[in-house]
Amino acid sequence: MNAENRVISIDNLTKTYGKNRGIEAVTFDVTKGEIFGFLGPNGAGKSTTIRCLLKLIRPTGGRAEILGHDVVKEHREIMRHIGYIPSETQFYPSMKVSEVIRFAADVRGTDCREEAAMLCERLRVDTDKRIEELSLGNRKKVGIVCAMQHRPELFIFDEPTSGLDPLMQAEFFGLVQEYNAAGATCFLSSHVLSEVRKYCHRAAIIREGRLIACDTVEHLAHTGAKLVRVEGTDGLTLDGMSKVTRKDGGMEFVYSGDMNALLKALSAADVKDLSIEEPSLEDVFMQYYGGAEQ
């Protein structure tokens, strides 16, 4: 990958909290102009990675660069080019929405009034209300305006749609796609697979602090594993089977073993119906996580 195209470059990034795990040797890149999904269940290390990138916490090992700047040494320079939405957005309760939005723009020293007005209109943000009067979803919308109004080169979103209703989620991703089309890069963490499948070009999956996959969404869904549904027998036992469910004399499983062995086992069984499909991203995700759960 051309180094100039790397917007985020993470190399063996590690964060430990005393003896507790945070993230361990996480390595991946995000390329200019892509929408990159960062998948993982709660506690996997998504927020820890993002918080290291934003220097909210200091990495204990490895390094990361954003737009060619070291995240620890050149934090202020990096923040000029970033729009960030935390998973739980909170502002000063006594301030009005308009004051918070203006404060964020003033700190950056930019006149964002036009963009902020457009964003408030599209996200239906009531700028006269005080923060303490807002629901979680409405606070999130204020966070989106603060993160987008200065038209940054890079968006970093930590579970951006939590708290938003489906209409606002669609509006939010509409905005992300528009900024992306205009050249912005987007790095978003999520545990909502449909979001990642629908909007992201590439994705990384993190489990228990370690990166376990990083590829295009298309390739991630084509891991070589197949989703097998069999009617007529529930007694197949093969190496490479996972997520096995048996029901009504049939069975369903994800198969990543030798295909000839599968065909041999199927031909020996009394099969009434059979389907072998590419697994969905959800199935792939569950396969990655299934190992840990089992």
Binding site: R51, L56, Y84, P86, Q90, Y92, G143
Partner: protein, 263 residues
């Protein structure tokens, strides 16, 4: 500059409440002075010869029947404690309140940087402390004039300056504690101010504990001492106080620059 203005705005209500509270009590005492002046005349000698108690409140140095003596013992105590607690609260809540109210992520992901955040907040604290003292100076002189008395101007200026330095020391120590903490511990701030005040009282009562006055800003800023010395401040405790202030501010920057910020 934006954060500085934001901080001033965020602390405006607290400032007004403390200012009105402390100065109303101080002015009230000044207005009471003519009423108790005559009745205390006979007791002045008794007040001045109550040993440790007299020493604790400076009644052994200035007669309580003069406005300056009364100011040193009564108003000086109220103002030093009130303004000291306000300064301590400003310092202790400055940095930690962002994490305890979960606004830290918002603030830290703007373009301020850790040092910028400490600087903006420190300047706002110093502004409020200075404003507090300037307004207090006006209230002291105005109230004295209203009862037909006057305070020695040089001594009063020295006292207000000493108070500013003492409050800055308290706020700086609490700012350093705030940089360490993720919770806005108002109790720690108030406790710090009260403990340092009690250290000064103990140092005044007991000769063996005289060394304690080097550890508290309430010693060099004591109203009676400053008025007795016509506005000059005892050098050694003052220098120690200034050194503590500088070290606390440096510690606040050093700790806050490296510390992990809670979500």
């Amino acid at each position: 500059m934006t954060l500085y203005q934001h901080e001033l705005k965020m602390n405006r209500v607290s400032f007004v409440i403390w200012l009105v509270g402390v100065l109303a009590m101080s002015a009230g005492c000044i207005f009471l002075f003519p009423l108790i002046d005559e009745s205390m005349a006979d007791m002045a000698d008794a007040f001045a010869s109550m040993g440790g108690f007299s020493a604790a409140f400076g009644m052994d140095k200035l007669p309580i029947t003069t406005l300056e003596g009364f100011f040193g013992t009564e108003i000086g105590t109220i103002f030093a404690l009130g303004s000291g607690m306000f300064a301590a609260l400003l310092g202790i809540s400055a940095l930690s309140k962002e994490e305890s109210s979960h606004t830290a992520e918002f603030l830290h992901t703007l373009t301020l940087g850790r040092c910028g955040i400490v600087t903006g907040k420190l300047l706002a604290i110093l502004t409020y402390i200075a404003l507090f003292d300037v307004i207090a100076f006006g209230v002291f002189t105005g109230s004295a004039a209203l009862i037909g008395e006057s305070l020695d101007m040089k001594s009063l200026v020295g006292y207000v300056c000493a108070q500013f330095i003492a409050q800055t020391e308290l706020a700086s120590v609490c700012l350093a504690l705030s940089a360490l903490s993720r919770k806005s511990s108002l109790g720690v701030g108030l406790g710090t101010a009260l403990v340092l005040y009690v250290l000064d009282i103990i140092a005044r009562i007991t000769e063996q504990a005289d060394f304690l006055r080097y550890f508290t800003p309430f010693s060099f800023s004591n109203a009676t001492d400053v008025f007795v010395n016509k506005g000059s401040i005892e050098t050694v405790p003052l220098c120690i106080g200034l050194a503590v202030t500088v070290c606390s501010i440096v510690a606040a920057y050093a700790v806050y620059r490296r510390r992990d910020i809670a979500a």
